[in-house]
Amino acid sequence: MFRFDFVWDLATSKPGSGEETLERATDTVAFVPSPDLTSYFGLCAVLTPASESDSVGLSAVKSCVAELEAEMTILRTRYQADVEMPRRFLVRTRSAAGAFSLDPAVIDWLYERGALLVGSDCSLYREDGRFTELASKFESLSLPGLFGLNLEHLEQGYRYNLLAGPLKVENSAVIPVRPLLVS
């Protein structure tokens, strides 16, 4: 049997959503869906970068990844632990200071590092209903993303497992999902 010490529901609340079509029923969505479901399941790192003005920038995310790598290096050298950096990343941009956006350069950088999926608490849409610049970046890279996640109070780390299969839908780039993070 499996026992998880930690199970985190990453879906955001939307009261009354049962009366709406699935298209509008949740803000937690997968964007640029991948036919390969392995992108949505498995080891996942949570990054909690400090914000720079109103946006989380590349340097802050690089610092987070460097911190995790330093931690893993210690485990490998001192304890011969078999640890590796996950290829799925969840990046928290919201904090007590408010909600921030994520610099699209972060997505480029994580993609170059071989990311299979990147998720964040950012919205997929701008106020005028069009996709954000961040969303367009995922589209141009054909990188599976998760938007509108609840990442509050999550601690930075690399020992999480993501369970986030989006609904099976034909002909849509935006798909509702109920993601869980377990460890």
Binding site: K14, S17, G18, T38, G42, L167, K168, E170
Partner: protein, 209 residues
């Protein structure tokens, strides 16, 4: 045991984004499960106020979503219109004997998937005594290929499962699943604030013992 996420088996039938969850009725058009609020589940030892708090806290998902992810096994059931309690009892006894012969003891997984041993596409339907028999094992979720849990009196059978704290999952594609092999099931109801029948993405990952 270790979960191998490098291969995911998709059990899901597609859903339309124009569907309103509040309008879902049997026979269901897509893969659905049923979500029941923690206040209507038993066995968590929580006080009434604690239940509300637990449902609000994302880190308490192990309480309110525990049925929808975990160990599962597929059993092939006799080719019959309706699966009865004695049929299931015989099936489980035979399985237990096989496991004992291999030097181990049967531990029922919290989720069970049922597929007909007959021709492909034959749908398994549960009788009331089959549901009661399954609930004696403390089963938390039952998954079927059929588009509703019972061919007749479906609403009553859904209520019986509900009363016995067994979540259900229907419209699964179980053709690629190996019987009696352990898998890790994920089938989370898609919406956070809705109770009742909800679409889900049902998948299996291999489990290495």
């Amino acid at each position: 045991m270790r979960i191998d996420f490098s291969q995911i088996i998709d059990l899901t039938l597609p859903v339309s984004l124009q569907l309103k969850p509040s309008e879902l009725v049997a026979p269901y058009p897509c893969t659905v499960t049923t979500y029941k609020r923690l206040s209507r589940k038993e066995g968590h030892g929580l006080e009434p106020d604690e239940v509300v708090e637990a449902e609000k806290s994302p880190d308490c998902a192990s309480l309110y979503l525990r049925e929808y992810f975990g160990l599962t096994v597929l059993l092939e059931v006799p080719d019959a219109d309706e699966l009865t309690g004695p049929m299931l009892q015989k099936l489980v006894s035979t399985w237990a004997e096989e496991i004992q012969a291999a030097g181990a003891q049967l531990m029922m997984p919290p989720a069970l998937l049922l597929r007909s041993s007959g021709e492909r596409g034959r749908q398994v339907s549960l009788s009331a005594d089959a549901i009661l028999y399954l609930s004696t094992f403390g089963l938390e979720l039952i998954g079927l290929e059929s588009s509703q849990v019972a061919a007749s009196d479906n609403r009553l059978m859904e209520a019986l499962l509900d009363e016995n704290q067994v979540a259900w999952l229907v419209n699964l594609d179980l053709q690629g699943v190996v019987p009696k092999r352990p898998y890790f099931l994920t089938a989370l109801p898609v919406l956070k604030d809705v109770e009742g029948v909800l679409p889900c993405r049902a998948t299996l990952a291999l489990v290495e013992e």
